[in-house]
Amino acid sequence: MTNSQELIATESLSDSHCLVLNSLLDTMIPPDSTLSIPGAGDPAIVERIVKSIRVGALQQVSEGLNEVEALTHESSGLRFVECDQAEREECFHSYGLAQRSFIRTLGSIAIHCYYTDPRVMESLEMEPRPPFPQGFELEQGDWSLLDPVRERPKIYRNIP
């Protein structure tokens, strides 16, 4: 039973962990120049992601990043950050990283931070603003769709 308020400070991941984290996040959600969107490894997004990792999950993420480094080195002799996108993706998928619990934790945080980034929201034709106070428009719709239902006799049951 964790307390959702517990967050860690940015500096609690080492520099080398941060480098692997950036590459890993860009592997999971890559930048796309045709859509003009950053990847999840974009510095502003990573900063929010790191701030959102709970104390309890920090160790899990750090260990996961070590594992990614070790697996990449074992298979290609390279460091994860030295690989190109295709090689990193190959590593990510071939080792089934998506199923690892640290990726589930990190992935969920990454999604929250990535999809609320103003650049990403704008690319989805959304205004980068909170719902309140402006709200949104919703069309009334065609109420004549109800006509066939109105014609039905009552469908609730009589009580003897």
């Binding site: 039973m1 964790t2 307390n3 959702s4 308020q5 592997t27 999971m28 959600i29 890559p30 796309d32 859509l35 959102s52 996108q85 993706e89 990510f92 998928h93 998506a98 990726i103 992935g107 969920s108 999604i111 929250h112 931070c113 990535y114 999809y115 609320t116 103003p118 929201m121 989805l124 959304m126 980068p128 603003r129 909170p130 719902p131 309140f132 106070p133 402006q134 709200g135 949104f136 428009e137 919703l138 069309e139 009334q140 719709g141 065609d142 109420w143 769709l145 109800l146 066939p148 239902v149 109105r150 039905r152 006799p153 009552k154 469908i155 609730y156 049951r157 009589n158 009580i159 003897p160």
Partner: protein, 533 residues
């Protein structure tokens, strides 16, 4: 330390506590309500931030164990496939509820006579009808007259817009000749009683910053307080105390500073919901009630009903409403009444949902394997963005004594009070009903144009309807409270929350919980001179 005696002491300031407080206020009795939570500030609600979906998983989450506010109590749900969802504050769980607001049907009170299952209620639709009407006015209900699934009921405000999602689903229902109707909602579509009308913020289940959604902190409570009710927040009740004549003498509680106090009262009313009320009763042991207060029937905490939910959504080729507007939209009660050829008894409501936010869409896509990590991510996401809509099936749950709220031997809240443990299994009847509902939902979603269908069954975090754990009845051996909410064993103690439900019906419960609370209050007012006879 003991305080002056009050006439009426209410425990819990949620949907039912607010309604009963307001109704009793016109008696001019001295009424005090103790609530373990505080007031929520609408400017703190998630929809005031871009990251509203994220904050839904934080301090405004629906799971008290994960949310872990000081005002929450943990619940051991390890032996239940469905986790309790609630909120502890002035307004109770209505702070987070979706505001889907159906009434029970006449048949829902007579399931034993009609279908030979469970029990009949000792009251019926006709008795509750005027209280439904009164509650509708107090909460401000939006909806459309003429639904063939219901006896006539008054329209207070027009329904929520159909929007793109509602129209798309409605066409599907029409093509199959199935019933649908705009949902009755506790969401104001016009300015109402000092509250602004709905501006389609979305995320109603994270708190409504606009105040359009009728949470009881902004509907009943301002009226009750103006009428003289005293509401004490951050006061957590540990137990109800009794004398040697089986009368409640008051409650022992921890005040906002953690100081233990005793509040004496002539009458005690419990409104802590279907988990909080049995917890409090089971914690209130004494030589005359060694198994918990008002529990001579042994039924306190038994017959817990949740409404097992199935979620069925489709992916549509065209853009729908997505993150815009209240989740609730239209309902269908085509499969509400019993048809034995389906292989189960009773039925369900389809509560249609408009769509989901960007984060919810991405997490859904990843969870169901529709969005990959890596290069295909963006193209796959865009196929789902604003294109997911569907429904949940709210299945009638039967009262079964093995589904229970008991006290966990180890788990305690921040005041050291023992906490609830849930033991619950989805019945065979429910399993069949859920399966049938998924098949029908798939059919109608495809008829509406959906390509892929995604399901979750039962919704694991969907224990938001808490019913049956202090059931109503005329026989003291088979029920905890009588037909007007008074405990059989303790004649000056009443229960007004969903604990008293005899059966669950196949609809969301809050409109009925509040109508019952008003009915209990009225029954008390009519008997003020001989209330304890």
């Amino acid at each position: 330390m003991s305080e002056d005696i009050v006439d009426v002491l209410i425990v819990g300031a949620g949907a039912s506590g607010a309604a009963v407080a307001w109704s009793l206020a016109d008696t001019k009795m001295r009424i005090v309500c103790l609530e373990q939570g505080g007031w929520t500030n609408p400017s703190d609600y998630p929809s005031t931030g871009v990251d509203w979906e994220n904050r839904h998983w934080g301090s405004f989450g629906i799971d008290p164990n994960q949310r872990g506010r000081e005002t929450d109590y943990p619940i051991n749900g390890s032996n239940s496939p469905i986790a309790v969802a609630n909120f502890n504050a002035v307004g109770g769980s209505t702070i987070l509820y979706a505001g889907h607001f159906p009434r029970f049907h006449p048949s829902d009170f007579r399931v034993k006579s009609l279908d030979g299952v469970a029990d009949d209620w000792p009251i019926d639709y006709e008795i509750l009808e005027p209280y439904y009407d009164e509650n509708d006015r107090m909460m401000g209900v939006s909806g459309l007259e003429g639904d063939p699934a219901y006896p006539p009921k008054p329209q207070i405000m027009p329904p929520l817009p159909l929007g793109k999602s509602g129209q798309t689903l409605a066409k599907g229902f029409n093509s199959l000749g199935w019933h649908w109707w705009p949902s009755d909602t506790a969401i104001a579509t016009e300015d109402y009683d000092g509250r602004g009308k709905c501006i389609n913020l979305g995320g109603c289940y994270t708190g409504c910053a606009q105040g359009a959604k009728a949470s009881s902190d902004i509907t009943y409570w301002p009226h009750a307080i103006r009428a003289g009710v005293e509401l004490r927040t951050h006061c957590r009740v540990r137990e109800v105390t009794v004398d040697d004549n089986d009368f409640a003498t008051g409650v022992t509680y921890f005040d906002e500073n953690g100081v233990e106090r005793h509040q004496r009262a002539e009458v005690v009313i419990l409104a802590c919901n279907g988990v909080g009320t049995p917890r409090l009763l089971l914690n209130s042991t004494s030589p005359r009630f060694p198994n918990g207060l008002a529990n001579r029937s042994g039924l306190v905490g038994k017959n817990l009903m949740f409404h097992p939910y199935a979620l069925i959504v489709g992916v549509f080729p065209d853009e729908l409403d997505g993150y815009k507007g209240p989740g609730v939209c239209i309902w269908s009660q085509e499969f509400y009444e019993t048809d034995e050829s389906r292989g189960y008894l009773r039925g369900f409501t389809f509560e249609c949902t408009r769509g989901r936010g960007v984060v919810g869409t991405a997490l859904t896509g990843l969870g169901y394997g529709h969005i990959p990590w890596g290069s295909g991510h963006h193209a796959a996401y865009r196929k789902l963005h604003n294109r997911i809509a569907g429904m949940s099936a709210i299945c009638e749950d039967f009262p079964e004594e093995h589904n229970t709220v008991t006290l966990d031997p180890d788990l305690k809240d921040s005041n050291g009070i023992p906490c609830p443990k849930i033991d619950y299994t989805v019945s065979e009847n429910s399993e069949k009903m859920l399966q049938f509902a998924i098949e029908r939902a798939t059919e109608v979603l495809k008829a509406s144009g959906a390509t892929d269908i995604l399901t979750e069954c039962p919704i694991a975090h969907g224990g938001w309807h808490l019913m049956g754990t202090a059931r109503m009845g005329t026989d003291p051996e088979r029920s905890v409270v009588n037909e007007w909410g008074r405990c059989h064993d303790v004649k000056n103690m009443f229960v007004v929350d969903g604990s008293t439900f005899v059966t669950s019906a196949g609809v969301n419960p809050t409109r009925t919980i509040q109508a019952l609370a008003l009915y209990v209050a009225d029954s008390m007012k009519k008997r003020l001179t001989n209330l304890f006879d």
